[in-house]
Amino acid sequence: MSDTAADPRLLRAPPKRGIRLSWADERFRSIIWQILVVGVVVGIVWWLVRNTAHNLEVRRIATGWGFLSREAGLPVAESLIPYSPTDTYARALMVGVLNTLKIAVVGVVVATILGTMVGIARLSKNWLLSRIAAAYIEVVRDLPLLLQLLFWYAILQGLPAPRQALHPVEGVFLSNRGLKLPWIQWQDAHSFALLGLILGIVGAVFYARSARAKQMADGQPRKVWPVAAGLVLGLPVLIWAGLGAPWQGDIPALRGFNFQGGLTITPEYFALLIGLVMYTAAFIAEIVRAGILSVAKGQWEAAEALGLQRGRILRMIVLPQALRVIVPPMTSQYLNLTKNSSLAVAIGYQDIVSISNTTLNQTGQAIEGIAIIMVVYLTISLSISLFMNWYNARIALVER
């Protein structure tokens, strides 16, 4: 190899030449192959489109998005925005998208927390804890998610009626109508306080950044947490107090055959959440375990030798290295959870799949209905991918 590399003739760029029209020329072959494959694919697609157009004509189905502005007349049990069956299909589908996001966002957060806990438990020195975590992971991963959802839904439906509801703590009721939690009566002041919280977090992040920049300049460490705590906690409390500190509890109570007031978590949402979280957490636990195991023991020992405290070692030495192994597979788990939330249709939680399905059954607009499902999921998947890729690039190892 070294002999030929030294040969000056080989160091020169190969002479440029045109494509010979011969089967022996690799580039000619590759162009022919590509034309052939693309031709076949285009041919199949054209055939399918022509058939579809013909079939739609025969069945007198008008394609188009006109149906979106028609009255839906489809009841939706739970919705984040005001909705009634007299609203349009577009609004019904919007409700479905929001319901999908509601389960996906909450599910991702809870599954990450539970999965991390189980993953650490799996590595525990306590034999019993580690075995129980291992058994949980193995059992949950070897059962279909749909079966687990149906199982949880069957359990929730087997709970007693509201009159005999389980009542573990004051204000909390668990019955076959779902979980009832105490809540506060939401007022404008609370919305402003929430806005203050977001502003406070943003401000705290900026303050921490400038403090770090100053430390880099003069080497003086600065205490960040008092100001950050003031911004994050103080700002919303001040706004809330400034607006008269409204506080009205909303405690659920049994009236007649059902509960009134309070925050309701429907059995459908609850079963879906338990199922998705339990299932995804088992996969996340294995990812977290692999991530922590991937950090060499010498890293801990070296950091201890430098005199760092345990918490700091975890935060500044081990976690940044473990995250590099954890984040890419975690991204696909988040994507899986979001896509798996489409199983909601089996237990009657009205997410985008369920509402699109009803829409296409009512209107006969099969192509549009399925296109909506696909576009919504592709958008969500792409957003999660982009965000996680950005985060992954941020924590990636910086090499020279």
């Binding site: 192959w33 020195k125 034999w127 991963r141 279909p144 489409s342 592709l378 792409l382």
Partner: protein, 384 residues
């Protein structure tokens, strides 16, 4: 100083003699020492062990009470239907396994003619035999493909009948476990070759082919399987020319194959990427053509690298076949869910789901154990 050294190194005959017979301290070796190190190493560990131990014992006792002691295994069946009052009287304190006793044939074989149940039963055994043969490394050779073809042909003949004196059974009457196994086996068997082609295409230097493969993989992986199944059940009939129709099971099967191939392609691609470049260059240097290089040098090594993740993906698809419930195909889970639609048996979902879950678990657990064993075996040469 000298005195101390002398004392320390001086032989102590009396003690040495005694040491030979003395047992080590109770807490240094043996089960007690193990318990101290693994269960009670600190006060936190002790607290965790005690709390978990308490919960474990309580829940196990509760489960044994529910599943065995208070359980009812059969109920009288009169011409008016099953008499489930005894089960309902339990009020959830005991399992009503009677629903499984009564419905197990239905869960396993669906609506297949009752007196012909031996045919799907043999098919299930054939499938299991096929898995076992494929799992043995001794049979990893081209002849395995022939074994697969032959077995699948025999299964087709047994299920459909209409020849060799077997009565004809239309596909609409198939159901239960055998449908799950058909969807999973045919899905994997056909998706795997397709996925290899797609993975090769994605690594190809031809821009048009690469773009097509990337589009296919990313589009399929970006949407849930359910939307593909809906597409197969609702949209597919629109795609075909008038008069031409494909039955529902086959359409779902095509959706599963397309879905599985996209995921498997990514696994195969990982193997292709993990192979050192020298292998490609060496094959080129020998003057092998693309297909010779791929068939003899690249794929045998690349596929071997990804066998464990491949098996994990297979487990995933085995579980995912249960999604056909949503478009109303009669697989194992659908059969279980349908078994409790009858008013007499309504409300006994937990018993059914535990039973069906056990069947899924046996298959997936076996595959997962096999994959772990294989991983250890294939990595043995790397561990010194």
């Amino acid at each position: 100083m000298a005195e101390i050294t002398a004392e320390a190194t001086a032989p102590r005959p009396a003690q040495d003699a005694e040491l030979g017979h003395r047992r080590p301290p109770l807490l240094a070796v043996g089960p007690l020492a193990w318990a101290k190190a693994n269960l009670f190493s600190s006060w936190i560990s002790t607290a965790v062990t005690l709390a978990l131990g308490y919960l474990l014992v309580r829940w196990t006792m509760g489960f044994i009470d529910w599943a065995f002691i208070n359980a009812i295994w059969s109920v009288p069946v009169t011409p008016q239907g099953a008499q489930t009052q005894a089960c309902r009287a339990l009020g959830g304190t005991g399992a009503c396994w009677a629903v499984v006793t009564e419905k197990h044939r239905f869960i396993l074989f669906g609506t297949y003619p009752y007196e012909e149940h031996w045919r799907p039963a043999i098919c299930v055994l054939l499938f299991i035999g096929l898995y076992i043969v494929s799992a043995m490394r001794r049979f990893w050779r081209p002849a395995l493909a022939l074994i697969w073809l032959a077995t699948l042909a025999v299964i087709g003949v047994l299920m459909w009948g209409g020849m060799l004196g077997l009565s004809y059974v239309p596909q609409e009457r198939w159901g239960g476990l055998v449908i799950t196994l058909i969807l999973a086996t045919f899905g994997i068997a056909l998706a795997f070759p397709l996925s290899i082609l797609v993975a090769l295409g994605r690594r190809s230097s031809m821009p048009a082919i690469k773009t097509l493969c990337v589009l296919y993989v990313e589009l399929i992986r970006g949407v849930p399987l359910i939307s593909l199944l809906f597409m197969a059940s609702v949209m597919f009939p629109l795609f075909l020319p008038e008069g031409m129709n494909i039955d529902k099971l086959l359409r779902a099967q095509i959706a599963i194959i397309l879905f599985a191939a996209a995921y498997l392609a990514e696994v195969v691609r990982a193997g292709l990427q993990a192979l050192p470049r020298g292998q490609y260059e060496a094959a080129d240097a020998l003057g092998l053509t693309y297909w010779q290089k791929t068939g003899f040098i690249i794929l045998p090594q690349a596929l071997r690298l990804v066998i464990p993740p491949l098996v994990n993906t297979f487990i995933g698809f085995f579980k995912d076949t249960s999604l056909v419930l949503i478009i109303g195909i009669f697989d194992l889970l659908t059969a279980g869910k349908t078994a409790i639609v009858e008013p007499a048996w309504q409300g006994f979902g937990i018993e059914i789901y535990v039973t069906v879950g056990l069947i899924y678990f046996v298959f997936c657990f076996a595959m997962s154990r096999y994959s772990q064993g294989l991983e250890a075996e294939l990595n043995r040469h790397r561990v010194r």
